[in-house]
Amino acid sequence: MALFTSGRDFSMMRHINRELLNDIISQQASFYKYKIGDTKTNIYGEAAGEKYFDGPYIFSCLVSRSDQEFPESDLGVNFNQAIDFSFFRDDLVDTMYVPEVGDIVLYQESYYEIDDLVANQYFGGKNPDYPNNGSAGQQNPLNPGLSKFGANVSIIAKTHYVPADKLNLSPYKERL
């Protein structure tokens, strides 16, 4: 039976994380999730006309910004910036928000589309969602009760900048 990285231990870390993210660092970002059913698509599966979103859902997170880039093309000077948003996974679980690739993140008056999601940071290297029990409910023969140990700590959303006009988000109605 595992002895360390129990749910009790992680409970203390949850307090630490929330204090750190909410009260000390206080960086925030908001999610917009596409309302697929309300958005009309063309024959190519692309949005035709207005796009509809749920949200915004605001969360505390850690923001890792890369430098702004201004690439030049035949059309002129463009703008790009990649940002990684690191969320405390339990915050998302508590609000039952499941981020997906394609969701939009609002950060400092700009929009960033999620390219990639990483949920690979485990406390003690253990993910309690996989206790390796038997399919009929038998306990893990080597280490029973592993569902009470370890934690899936974070979800990291890797994003890139998206111009607001491509999203058709109303800055007055749908933004914070």
Binding site: S6, M13, L20, S86, S154
Partner: protein, 388 residues
Amino acid sequence: MNIPIWPGSSSFAPNSGDTPFGFYDDDYDFQTDADKFSMFASRRLGYPIMDIELQDIHFYTAFEEAVTTYGNEVFAFKIRENQLSLEGADASVDVTNSTITPSMANVVRLSKQYGAEAGSGGNVTWYDGEVDLVNNQQVYDLNAWAAAEGLDRKGGIEIKRVFFESPPAITQYYDPYSGTGFGFQALFNSFGFAAMSPATNYLMMPLSFDLQTVQAIEMNQQVRKSNYTFELINNQLRVFPIPNGSGGKMRFQYIINDERIDSSESEGNDAVANRVTSVLDAPYSNPIYTRINAPGRSWIYEYALAFVRETLGDIRNKYSQIPIPNAEVQLNGDDLISQGREDRFKLIDRLREYLEQTSRRQLLERRADESEFRSKELNQVPMVIYVG
């Protein structure tokens, strides 16, 4: 699982397991101070600006331990101060809040060993023994005598006194060879043996004269005669002069070696059950919180705070790195532990120094100093010439 942490307030519930031992749960002052201390300590640790990963029971536990530690320090000092008076006292009488009046009982007990060795009392019995004197035998093996008596199994014997002595000098006071003086003439006169004066003429001599005469007799016997004496090495008794006839007895006094040791262990026959035998069973219990004064309570708050700080450090230090999203942080557990420990040691040192300054000896010394200084001060006052 979500374990709640300190919410900012608490409500102490006596005898509900809030404190591990419940020593002071029934004390009203303790009950009210427990919650006040929790607030005090949490604020000293940074609440509400900082979260405190503790629960109310941590504060209560530290508080209870601090009170107990304070009591232990004070009563340990009292025990040290009074152990000489407490040892041997009834252990069932709680003296936690009693005034101890020093007694001579144990000083006398400790002194008995000197009496035992000097033969003037003590707690080791002196026994009588005797051996037959044998014609022309100078050496007598008293170890063999002890073995014959079965005393060798009790650690053997130690001879304390040998009665191989010349007759008292006073018995030879009238020996014509021992000396002369007016005292004899006066005595002879009084019996009519001399013609120089009538029998009624008696010259009274001072007592010092008699003593000097006795000393002269003894000196005479030592220098001019073969005086009675002996030498004792390893219980081999060599006597002088060598006996020149059988039938006599030589008496001596001895102790049994084991009894000397036993007298240390059990205080002879005075060993009584349920007596204070050491600091272990000195009849002190935990302090009564209500009776602790303000300086004492202040010390307790500070000491308990140091404990809380250490506990918080232990909690924050269980894992050296705490995972946060896409990173790890290190908490201040080490700092809290070292600070808490340092504070505790300093507080203990401060309390011990304070107690030492209030020891009986220090107080008496200070009082003597004060008296001396006061006397010097008064000497500065000009003397008044009395005019009648």
